[in-house]
Amino acid sequence: MGVSAALIVIVAALAGWMVGSALGEDGIEFATGLALWIALAESWIVLSGFTGYVSLGHAAFVGAGAYCTVLLWGVVPFWLGLCLGAVVAGVLALAVGAPCLRVRGPYFVILTLGVAEFLKYLVIDIEARLGKFGRLLMDAPEPGVLLQVAVGLAAAAFLLAYAVRHSRFGLGLRAIRENETCAQMTGVDVRALKIAAFVLSAIIPGAVGGVMVSRTGYFEPAQIFSPQISLTIITICIAGGSDSPWGPLLGALFLQLLSDWLSQTAPQLYLIILGLVLIAFVLGLPDGIVGQGARLARWRQRPRRAPA
């Protein structure tokens, strides 16, 4: 494992990038969706997986980034719009994180949900006052290009999560999750670390938002700020496991296959099944697939390490 694992992922991402155009329309759709969910979920675990501060509001960052990209549509080049969307999401996280992260545990969780809904209604209200009920985006980039951007974001998010997980910073974040008071007593500047993690976990989702609206060519605040986006991210991370960057990779693949299969048979069941999957994993395998694997491995090692 370690660096070599990260290299494998980079190679896979590059391969996906190059092969992309050969996939055909459906293949590109599938791969782009998968890459975007990976980008979102890997970003999410930087905050919620490592610190245990579960955010139900990441849709807010997706939406904020998308809104920024949309407002700058045609004004600045596409790539710049995405970058600025990422910056806006980061700044939003900084502004929201400082007060919100003082609230601990489950109350932080419902607070993030509330903040995201507040922003959703705020943007709906602004758009209504501007007389806009949805915006069409002309001349969006080709699906092949969007796939490349999505793969790039997914790779960046994976590397971010990987780097954080194996750094001093990540160790501090996990100490916060295990016992915040104790972490502070052991020298961890918990406030600064939590805010840094919150901002880091928001930046890439901001860019993902821009790609998402470009895919559909249509911007509607209720859709891009939808709590269903947050629900999907969480389900991916709970199903895959959120203490390691490999978890979201597996979880996203699992859910993307599920949604692909359902979109042909019964698309209206998707969100219902998503809810069932979330409940099943929370109750049955709270550490996710990857966490469960690690636990099994540890359990099998134990007899050798510590007899009796």
């Binding site: 419902i110 209200d125 969100l271 979330l278 409940i279």
Partner: protein, 291 residues
Amino acid sequence: MSAQLLLVGVANGMLYALIGVSLNLIYGTMRLLNVGHGDLVMIGAYVGYCLLAYAHLDPLLGLVAAPALTGLLGWLLYRGLFASLLRRTAASGGPEASSLLVFFGLSSIVQNLAELIFGGTPRAYNGYDRLIRLGSISVTESRLIVLLVSTAAVLAVLAFFRLSIWGLGLRALIQSREASAIVGIDVERAFALSSVAGFGLGGLAGSLVGLSQSSTPFMGVPYSTVAFVVIILGGLGNLAGSIASGIAVGLLETLGVALAGPSSRDLLIYGVFIVVLLVRPQGLFGRRAAT
């Protein structure tokens, strides 16, 4: 504030108090964070619609049928999910975090099931919009029913808590689960009771909402938020506090909507929610620390 507005505000407020009390029964006793509590309101509202549309019955029967249905749902969920969740998490810091995610999932299931069954279009019936004049105030029949029924229901719950042995047990349970178990309270039965009562009262609130408002699959979301605002402001497990804060939120919302227009209702509710959580989170966990 005119008398007219005041009456509307108090009627809304008593409805919010009812929703808050019903969430308090779930959160206060079991520490289950039902982020989808408002979906019970949605279910209750659809029950009234179904009675009228499919059985051609008076939607007022929903005031009985809706709580029966959601109460049953509460019992089934308690037996099927919560009982084991509560047992398993008793040792590791309580069920709050996992219950929150479970309810988030349940909420998605219930909302999308409703959409599957009823579609996204609003469903309404107008049977109770006759105007009644009370002195200088004119009020719709449905608003009066909301005010009377929710007041009666909230007072009944209060009386039950103050006067009956079961209520005493539940109050003890809200203070401390461990202590209640040692003094001989059957914790599991009390939990089952509060599940049924909490879910049932949520459904009752929904049947009241349905009298004057059209039903949509996602109508419950703002009510979940209101429910949390009410119990945070009023204090965990503090039922009388829920009434006061419910009325406060109802008046605030009515006044805000009167001043800024109906589109600002959601913004207002979420704004208050955020401020309350940031400023007074001890409303929720102040007492926890003491247990």
